[in-house]
């Protein structure tokens, strides 16, 4: 049996009490962080509501003043924010995505004074695939890319076409524009960067390009698996096509409810 001297006992007790103090501090720190996060979450919830309410007021005032255009744009803006800010789920249905694109384009057309238009080509079997699961905000960054990059030099007549083609098990979505296109070398690098697991700038960091496409592609691959994703093809002066290939999974299917919308890979 080992005997403890008074000094050693003192030391042990000190160590023990210090540890208890540290643990307590950590516990409270965590609690404070938790509270702060909760507060932030509440604030985040308040902010959108404040925004939606303000937009509704503007819309109401516009309707009362018989300013149809402003009322419509405000409504579109409010719907767009409601969709993009809401944190309920990372997934949406194809129908939601198409609606949000329509809202987004309405806002952009108002902003750019109809320099470009959107054609959404829905298939005959639209009713049977409109409930297909798709990661939220898959189409919007691609359409935004077209607006930002494709039509920078053209004055008008820009057309963005979204075509949805369902097959037995899959859905192909093609977003094409008739903008300035991408030159061969950049396209090659862009497609190469899409294949990478981590984002590599196609023009070696000179300018951050393609990150939105990479992001969408990565999300599609993480959700549905490596066989799915997007592909970019383009010809200078003739426009760019982005083709998305995803499996058809109904939001009402057992697969989706069981996984809770996690991944299908």
């Amino acid at each position: 049996m080992k005997l403890l001297s008074e000094k050693k006992l003192q030391k042990l007790l000190e160590e023990h009490s210090q540890k208890a103090v540290r643990d307590n501090a950590r516990y409270y720190e965590n609690e404070i962080l938790k509270k702060q996060t909760e507060l932030l979450t509440l604030q985040n919830q308040i902010n959108p509501h404040f925004l939606y309410n303000a937009l509704e007021c503007i819309r109401a005032q516009a309707v009362l003043s018989d300013m149809r255009e402003i009322a419509d744009i405000t409504y579109a803006l409010s719907n767009f924010f409601r969709y993009s800010i809401s944190m309920k789920s990372d997934f949406a249905t194809l129908n939601d995505e198409v609606n949000v694109i329509n809202n987004y384009m309405k806002i952009q057309q108002y902003r750019f004074r109809d320099r470009f238009c959107l054609n959404v080509d829905l298939p005959e079997a639209w009713n049977s695939i409109m409930d297909a699961v798709i990661p939220k905000l898959t189409l919007q960054p691609i359409v935004e890319n077209s607006i930002v990059h494709a039509f920078t030099e053209s004055a008008d007549n820009g057309v963005i076409t979204i075509e949805i083609i369902p097959t037995k098990k899959h859905i192909n979505i093609r977003i094409s524009d008739n903008g300035k296109g991408i030159d061969s070398d950049t396209l090659k690098m862009l497609n190469h960067s899409l294949e990478q697991e981590y984002y590599v700038s196609p023009n070696h960091g000179k300018r951050s390009t393609g990150i939105a496409l990479w992001n969408v592609n990565r999300r599609l691959k993480l959700v549905f698996g490596d066989n799915y994703g997007l592909q970019v093809s383009s010809t200078p002066d003739l426009g760019t096509d982005v083709e998305i290939h995803i499996p058809y999974i109904s939001v009402n299917s057992d697969d989706f409810s069981q996984t809770g919308g996690n991944t299908y890979a």
Binding site: T167, S184, H192, S233, D237, L238, H245
Partner: protein, 469 residues
């Protein structure tokens, strides 16, 4: 709802450190006709070969009816119809269609009446007017093509690739009827061509290939007509360096008249590689005849380094045919096969061959083709195609003639040998010789040459496509 027939993703094929197919992705629906357009060396034919299982890719994912399959499984649903007929000319149409299925029959002997009857039924179903009992050699090429498509369909092909088939064939009403019939049966077609306007007549969608991958596809609709012409006229990227464009005229043909050829004038520059394309296949044989027998010239003149050529043949010319099966002697060694045309030069004063000289020639050959990994051989039996071509070209090089005419090299070369031929011709040209390729195949030969001349019976014109860039 369209049904997807196949999808290929990230298809890659690399040969000799060159990406021949570079991350290609494409798909086709059932009953859809896709036109695949691209200029020379864009990878169309190679893609057709991969789809039909004649070439194996390095990587890629394949799906058939939306399920992952191997390349071979996909290929089992694909039939390839090429410019050269694969039918046996001496057999009848019915025999050609059914002979391949003989192994499926329980009896060894074929029931002649039965296969004729069966062929007749198919013909009637597709409203074809080709008599099944006629020998294939008596059919026109477009009829042979129809028979090949019929055969592919009967053998169960779900995708029929028509690789570089003259699209004028399709103007035959029988073709459109057959197309319609097969489309209803959900058979898909992939048409490869470099003629956009013809593809526009027949395709539902058109894929554009450039730089060994798909750059864009469009629906073939009237509203696309302007875009298509813009895309087609766009100078596609060529990476061929313009080397040694020497101003020294090695050969000048001025106003040549011979047979049906009228007023043909052109120049070949020293150290240059020129391709003369006979796209209508009616003028090159006469031009060759004339070059090998300049004495027969009806009018005009041929000058080599400003000296007129009038004799039976010109000592500065060498004609390289590409019947390589006959040119390499299997029983001889590498050394002898290379030196066989230059024995006189390699022999001593008494006509005895100098072994050291021959050995030196052989060593230089091996060194020149170091990358290919050729080894000296005691006999040339079962020689790989590439090595056979290298030996033949080196043999010609040793002759040290000023102008080398390569006659229809497309007969022999494929993607494996194209690179080697290009390198060899460039080396020959670098040494101050002039290379003139006479060919009917625009697509395959285009990348080999620096200048391109288009020959017809009454003119020869420089092709300026490259300069537009």
């Amino acid at each position: 709802m369209p049904e997807e027939l196949y999808r290929i993703q990230d298809l890659c094929l690399r040969k000799d450190n060159t990406m021949l197919i570079d991350h290609l992705t494409m798909y086709q629906y059932k009953g859809e006709i896709i036109g695949l357009i691209g200029l020379h060396d864009s990878g169309k034919t190679l893609l057709s070969l991969i789809l039909s299982g004649q070439e194996l890719p390095d990587s890629g994912r394949f799906y058939y009816e939306e399920s992952p399959v191997s390349c071979q499984v996909l290929a089992s649903h694909v039939a390839l119809v090429q410019r050269r007929s694969s039918l046996i000319p001496s057999l009848s149409v019915a025999e050609n269609v059914f002979i391949i299925r003989r192994h499926k029959r329980s009896s060894f002997l074929m029931h002649r009446k039965l296969i004729l009857h069966e062929a007749h039924n198919y013909m009637r179903e597709m409203r074809l007017t080709i008599p099944p009992h006629v020998q294939v050699k008596h059919l026109t090429r477009s009829q042979q093509c129809l028979v090949e498509i019929l055969k592919a369909y009967i053998l169960g092909a779900r995708l029929i690739i028509l690789d570089d088939i003259p699209l004028t064939f399709f103007q035959d009403p029988q073709f459109s009827r057959m197309y319609q019939y097969l489309k209803e049966k959900k058979v898909s077609f992939l048409l490869t061509s470099c003629d956009i306007y013809q593809l526009q007549l027949f395709s539902d969608r058109i894929y554009f290939m450039d730089d060994h991958r798909i750059v864009k596809w469009i629906y073939n609709e009237k509203r696309n007509a302007i875009d298509i012409s813009r895309l087609y006229s766009r100078p596609l990227s060529y990476t061929e360096p313009l080397s040694h464009d020497s101003p020294i005229v090695a050969m000048k043909a001025d106003g040549l008249c011979y047979g049906s050829l009228k007023h043909i004038s052109f120049e070949l520059h020293e150290g240059g590689i020129v391709a003369i394309f006979d796209l209508f296949r009616n003028a090159s044989s006469q031009l060759l005849d004339l070059l090998s027998h300049p004495r027969n010239l009806t009018a005009g003149s041929i000058n080599v380094y400003e000296k007129p050529v009038k004799g039976e043949s010109c000592a500065s010319f060498v004609f390289a045919g590409f019947e390589l099966e006959d040119c390499i002697f299997e029983t001889l060694s590498t050394r002898d096969n290379i030196c066989i045309g230059s024995y006189k030069k390699l022999a001593g004063p008494l006509g005895i061959l100098r072994r050291a000289r021959m050995q030196y020639v052989e060593q230089t050959f091996i060194k020149e083709y170091e990358e290919e990994g050729f080894n000296p051989r005691a006999s040339c039996r079962n020689l790989p195609k590439k090595e056979r071509l290298a030996m033949y070209l080196y043999r010609l090089e040793l002759l040290r003639k000023k102008i080398i005419f390569c006659i229809y090299p497309e007969k022999y070369i494929d993607y494996d040998t194209l690179h080697l031929l290009k390198k060899s011709l460039q080396r020959i040209a670098r040494r101050g010789n002039t290379v003139c390729i006479i060919t009917c195949d625009f697509e395959k030969i285009y990348p080999l040459a620096e200048r391109h001349l288009i020959l017809s019976l009454d003119s020869i014109q420089e092709y300026a496509g490259k300069d537009e860039e």
